[in-house]
């Protein structure tokens, strides 16, 4: 269990603020850097530019070039040196520019970052956070809209999380940095600057622990489980369903590895139905894992098989076609209909 998050230096961040997810991440990083001078940020364009999404905006100006490193263009280099820096006592936070560019660093993540603690029988800690903007819906070209999180969840030794709202963004990034294990932090890029999600964030008290899922809307007819960008889709779907008199419960997974399925089991025992939603392709994914575990734990409570609304088992298509690929509100409701009609 990681130590509680240290509170930022007085006055660094006002107690209550209306924030977008992007701004909340920026302030969360700032607070973590204020609280611990071993926290350093590294990645491509994170300095003067503030990252291509501006999540690190202003950090280099305030913390200097030795704590916010514009690195050479090499993801293996970014992750590999972060491992070394962590061994030396730093708490590096790596930014990968887009999820599609994490693969040059995959070797370092799977071979070193994930295994060093195990291999040294606990003598070496590698508290590295790898921030990865992920997911589609932004009309981008190839490699800028993917959802590779299942690949990382499959690697023992890594923790994988994703946030879906500003308060979680602000706190989860700090909790991830505070965690003594390596954390892959998947950020829903299409929600970064979404004004609809802008909300009041209490910067004095975290809303809960990092590795715990949470019921974000209560309901009785069917449970929806999602994480990251799909949480908003599910909440919107639940809203639409309510207008037609159907009550959907929505669970934000938040932690993808370790999976915290206790709230999901509890919910399914009440609703009898589960639809798992994710932008990632379905084969061998997190939603597959959820389906397997829920049928094992809730077999006698299920009124229908666990169904999934996911991306198809194709590469991410050209973005003019992404509306077809991404599970949207209609596809989620259609899947709920199937579960209800079983």
């Amino acid at each position: 269990m990681a130590a509680p998050v240290k509170s930022p230096v007085d006055g660094a961040v006002p107690a209550m603020q209306k924030l977008t997810i992007g701004k909340a991440l920026n302030l969360g990083l700032r607070a973590a850097m204020e609280a611990d001078d071993k926290v350093i940020v590294l990645g491509e364009d994170v300095g003067k530019l503030g990252g291509v999404f501006r999540i690190t905006d202003g950090l280099q100006k305030d913390f200097g070039e030795q704590r916010v490193l514009d690195t050479p263009l090499a993801e293996s280099g970014i992750i590999g040196t972060a491992v070394g820096l962590a061994v030396r006592g730093f708490r590096p936070v790596c930014e990968i520019q887009f999820e599609g560019f994490i693969f040059p660093g995959f070797d370092q993540i799977s071979s070193q970052l994930a295994k060093l603690h195990y291999r040294t029988q606990g003598k070496v800690k590698v508290p590295v956070v790898v921030r990865v903007p992920f997911g589609g819906g932004i009309g981008a070209v190839e490699h800028h809209s993917e959802s590779p999180e299942s690949l990382f969840a499959h690697i023992p030794g890594l923790k994988v999380v994703s946030c879906s709202n500003p308060a979680d963004a602000y706190w989860m990034i700090q909790q991830a940095i505070d965690c003594d294990d390596p954390v892959l932090f998947f950020e829903p890029k299409r929600l970064y600057h979404n004004g609809q999600l802008k909300s009041e964030v209490d910067t004095t008290t975290p809303p809960g622990p990092l590795f715990a899922s949470r019921v974000v809307r209560q309901g009785t007819d069917c449970t929806l489980v999602a994480y990251g960008p799909s949480v908003k889709v599910c909440l919107d779907a639940a809203e639409a369903a309510a207008e037609e008199g159907r009550s959907l419960e929505v669970i934000d997974l938040r932690t993808i590895s370790p999976l915290d399925l206790a709230p999901v089991f509890e919910s399914v025992r009440r609703t009898g139905r589960l639809v798992a939603v994710s932008e990632a392709s379905s084969e061998s994914s997190i939603t597959s894992e959820i389906a397997a575990r829920v049928q094992q734990e809730c077999f006698y409570s299920l009124e229908a098989p666990v169904l999934r609304a996911t991306g198809f088992d194709t590469p991410y298509p050209p973005s003019k076609l992404e509306e077809h690929f991404l599970p949207d509100l209609d596809r989620v409701l259609h899947t709920v209909d199937r579960a209800m009609g079983w």
Binding site: E44, D45, K48, P72, F101, P104, F312, F325
Partner: protein, 402 residues
Amino acid sequence: MPSPEQWTHPEPGEGPAAQAAQPSREQVIAGLRNTDAGGAEVTQLLTPEGERIASPQFDRYISDVDPEALRGLYRDMVLVRRADREANAMQRQGQLGIWVPLLGQEAAQVGSGRALKPQDMAFPSYREHGVAYTRGVDFKELLGIFRCTDHGGWDFQAHGFHPYTIVIGNQVLNAAGYAMGQKFEGKVGDDDGEATIVYFGDGATSQGDVHEGFVWAAVYDAPLVFFCQNNQWAISEPTERQSRLPLYQRARGYGFPGIRVDGNDVLACLAVTRWALEECRHGNGPVLIEAFTYRMDAHTTTDDPTRYRLSDELEVWKHKDPIERVRVHLARSGFADQAWFDQIQAEADAFAADLREFCFNMPEPPPERVFANVYAEPSPVLDAQRDEYLSYLAGFVEAGER
């Protein structure tokens, strides 16, 4: 200041005392940026003022470039720039999702592209619209990528121009493998031999794939020209974020020649690339070319260079414009008059108008495209997924929605 030649190759046995003679950080950066016209490092055949410089080593590679050929190179660059500007404008108007401008890199691309023979193969990154043009790929065929209707669908074998690659450095190893194939099939050894050229940026030189590409090409003697367009920036990061020594000098460490060419000089790019390709064709490859140039626009239309770039830097480079110097040279030599320049401009405008019309009328891909060509062999699982999705969509059509 010691010349880069001195500071990159310290004498053996130098002790810590000699460290004082090591270059300062400022000197290192000055070395990276040393572009003095005609200086020891840069191969230049046409100055920014439009004067032709004789080169004992490289003149013979452009002995066939008569006034007509030179006008052709000028025309290529004007058309490519005009199309690039049109695409940039179309992005601003929401017709393209994104555009990757090549402004300022026309000479590097047209010069190196025109050096290729039909049997050669080019592996581009994502900014090589000018090279695509020289390979006979219709500019229109590039637009789908940026309008996000496809990932690039040209016949790459017919054009000798591989699909674009967005993941930085990936294509370098692919090119090395392709070139190894040319070698294994015995296609090198004489003037008619085959060669491969691979394009990448200064930022890409930090990627492992690029270093591995250097190693592979070297140890298998692959006929591969590494063409690095050093446009000074990798989004917001300057070249000194990637290297302590001029990039072309890295080649020595891998065991093949490296050369720096004025990337804004189309004649020098043509000559040097022809030389390098000849080396490869005859089985002496690989070669690294660093085309020293400048990105005169944003990295892409989503980038904001005012956050990192100094405006006076841009002003300096405007004086080294790759097209202007050819125009001055043509005019001064009496190879072209105003009427001819006007005619080329009109042609370029028509080229752009055609592109615009094509872009506006580009069809939307049908939903079944999502499932097409995932595998070379039939996939019943995917076919079922497609059929299910299409019948789901049909439900909306019947209900009069979507």
